[in-house]
Symmetry: C2
C-alpha cells in the first residue's frame, strides 16, 4: 500500500467512525411507539335539567339539560400491553399535560410508560381543562400568580432556582411550565372528581392509579369507591388525607396555615389497607418550621403523609413513603415525573410495580 | 375431475371465501398505529404583569406574571410521514375532541389521517379546554343548552333526529356528544386565536390547516398571518368571512339574525388567493328562508361561503365549496368528520389533497 492508498484508507476509516457516531446519535432518537389502540371519551358526570319544555324556535333555557362534571380521558394501549394499565390524575391547576412532554421537551410518563408496555389513561378531572363542562357556575379571575406557583411547586424562591434543582434553566422551559396551568371551570369538589375517576376504573377494569398533588385526596377516595384500583402511586399528595373516625391527627400548624386531615368510617378506610400504596416526595422540604410558606406547607404535608402511612399500616395496609433525598435522589421539585431526572423516577416506579407483582 | 373431487374443491373454495370474510372482519380491527414521535406543548400567547415586587413570604399578586392566551397542541407524527402534516382547529364550544374518537366510539380524523401517513396536530385554542389560561377574566354560567346545540349542530329538531341523519341513535353516543362541549375560559377573540395558530405554523413549518365551524374565521386570518399555511380545509365555517375593503356583501337576514361579513385590506386578502381552499357543508340546510333559526343560520352561512369563494376566485384564488348533498352525500350534520360516514368524508379530503399535490 502506497501513501496515497494509506491516506485514502485512513480517510475511509475516519469517515466510518464519524458516520458511526452520527448513527449513534441517530439511535438516541427514540424508537417508534407502536399503539394498538388510542382514543378519548368522557366518563362519569351528571345531568342537570331546567324545568319547562324546549322550544327549538325560541331556544330559551327552558326544558334544556346540561351534561357536566364528567372526566375527559385520552388513552393509548401499546401492542402486547401489560395486564394493568396506569391511570394518571393531575393536581391543582394542572391537566393531563402533567404527564406529557416535559417543559424542556423530553418525554414524560405518558411516553415513558407506553414504551415500558403499559396502557396509559390521562385524565382531565371534572371542571378542569378538556373536562370543563361544569354543572355549577364559576368565575375565572385571571389573577397573575406564576411566581406563587414557582415557589409552591418548589422550583425555587422567585427569582432564584434552588441550588441543584432538577429543573431546566432554559427560559423556554419556564415559559412552557407556566403555560401548563389551566383554571377550574367550576368549584373544586373531591367527591365529584372521585366519582368520575371511579367510573373510569369501573369502565376499564383493574388498573393502577397514579396521582399528583391535590389529586392525592380524590385518589384515596377513588380507591374506596372502586375495588378496580389495584395500587395507588401518589406523587407529593397535599391536602385530602383521610383517617378512620376517632384517629384523625390534630391540625398541623405551618407558616402556610394549619394542615387538617379528615375522617371516614373505618369500613371505608379499610379499603385502603387492601392495596399497595407508595408516596413520593421531592427535595427542598424543610424538616424544621420555616417562615417560607411555600416550603413549610410541604413540611407538614410530608409529616401528615407519614402519620397517614402509619395509620393504614397499623390496620394491616401496605403504604411506603419515599422521601427522595433520603434514598440519595436530590433536587426534585413538586413534579418529580417531569424533572430532569424523570427516567430515574420512572425506574423507581417500575421497581415498585415489579416488587408488588403489578407489572 | 370426478364429483367427489369437484365437491371437495367447492368446499375448499367456500372455505377460502368464508375465511376470507373472517379475515376481513378481523382486519376490521385496526392495525397498530406506528408513531415516530408524539408530545404536547403550548404555543403563542402573551404575558401580563402586575406592578410591584413579588414577595415569596407574603405571596400577594404584586409583582407576579400570568402566562396565558397560548394554544395547547397535542401532536403525533407517524413513521414515514408525508411531507405536510394536518393542523386541526375546532369550533365553538369544542376542543380537540372534535377530531378524536367519535361519539359512538369509532376513529375520528386524528386516527384516520395518522393511518394515512399524515402528522396530526390537534389544537385547543386560546381560552378553551387545555389552553384555559386566559389573560382576561371570565364568568362561566353553566346554563343548560344541550338542546340548543342539538339543533344548531343539525342533529335534528329536539327531541327528533332528522330523518336519515348520519348520527348514531345509541343514547350513549348522545351522552358523549354533549360532553364534548367545554366553555370559554376568557373572551372569544379571533385575533388571539389566529396569533397562536400562526405561531404554531411558524414553529412546525409548512402544513395544512383544517378548521371546523367558528374556527373558520381564525383560520382565514391564520392563513394571512403565516405563509406556512399551504391549504385550508374548512368544515362548515360559520361567521368570520373576510372580504377585501369595498367588496363586503350586505348583511344577510335570517331567522337567527343577520349574518355579517367583515373587511380586510386587499393586500391581506390576496394571501388567501395563493393557496387551495376547500369548504364542506353537510345536509339539512334549507335553500329557502326557514322559521327554524338552527337551520336558517346555516342557509345564510352557506350562501355567504359561496359569495366568499367567488370573491377569492375573482382575485385569482382557488376556493371550492362542496355542499355534500349536491354530490350525493346525504344526512351529514355540522360534524361531517365524526358522522357515521366519516371515512367517506375523509376520502373526499384525501382526494382533494392528492389533486392539489399536497399529499
Amino acid at each position: 500500500m502506497n501513501y496515497q492508498k494509506l491516506f485514502a484508507a485512513l480517510l475511509l476509516s475516519a469517515s466510518v467512525i464519524w458516520s458511526g457516531n452520527v448513527m449513534a446519535a441517530d439511535s438516541a432518537k427514540p424508537k417508534p411507539l407502536v399503539i394498538q389502540e388510542q382514543g378519548s371519551f368522557a366518563v362519569g358526570g351528571t345531568v342537570i335539567s331546567n324545568p319547562g319544555t324546549f322550544d327549538p324556535i325560541k331556544r330559551t333555557p327552558e326544558g334544556q339539560t346540561l351534561h357536566g362534571d364528567h372526566a375527559y380521558v385520552f388513552y393509548q394501549i401499546p401492542v402486547n400491553a401489560r395486564k394493568l394499565p396506569l391511570v394518571f390524575l393531575h393536581g391543582a391547576g394542572q391537566f393531563s399535560k402533567t404527564w406529557e412532554t416535559t417543559p424542556d421537551g423530553r418525554e414524560g410518563f405518558q411516553n415513558i410508560f407506553l414504551r415500558r408496555g403499559f396502557g396509559v389513561y390521562l385524565i382531565d378531572q371534572p371542571r378542569r381543562g378538556d373536562a370543563g363542562r361544569s354543572t355549577l357556575p364559576s368565575t375565572i379571575t385571571a389573577t397573575p400568580d406564576d411566581q406563587f406557583w414557582f415557589g409552591m411547586f418548589r422550583v425555587g424562591n422567585w427569582p432564584d432556582f434552588y441550588p441543584g434543582v432538577q429543573f431546566p434553566r432554559d427560559p423556554e422551559a419556564l415559559n412552557q411550565y407556566f403555560r401548563q396551568m389551566t383554571p377550574n371551570t367550576g368549584p373544586y369538589d373531591a367527591g365529584v372528581i372521585s366519582d368520575a375517576v371511579a367510573a373510569l376504573f369501573n369502565k376499564i377494569g383493574p388498573a393502577i392509579l397514579v396521582t399528583h398533588s391535590q389529586g392525592g385526596g380524590p385518589g384515596w377516595i377513588t380507591a374506596i369507591k372502586s375495588q378496580k384500583v389495584r395500587a395507588v402511586v401518589a406523587y407529593e399528595p397535599g391536602s385530602g388525607f383521610i383517617f378512620p373516625e376517632g384517629e384523625v391527627p390534630s391540625p398541623m400548624p405551618s407558616s402556610a396555615g394549619p394542615l387538617e386531615a379528615s375522617s371516614v368510617p373505618l369500613s371505608d378506610f379499610m379499603q385502603l389497607t387492601k392495596i399497595p400504596i407508595v408516596i413520593y416526595y421531592g427535595d427542598n422540604i424543610p424538616d424544621q418550621p420555616s417562615a417560607n410558606p411555600s416550603q413549610d406547607n410541604w413540611r407538614v404535608r410530608l409529616a401528615m403523609a407519614r402519620l397517614w402511612a402509619d395509620a393504614v399500616n397499623r390496620h394491616g395496609g401496605d403504604v411506603t413513603v419515599v422521601h427522595l433525598p433520603e434514598i440519595g435522589i436530590h433536587g426534585n421539585t413538586h413534579f418529580p415525573f417531569s424533572d430532569m431526572n424523570n427516567v430515574q423516577i420512572a425506574d423507581l416506579l417500575s421497581k415498585f410495580l415489579k416488587e408488588k407483582g403489578l407489572d
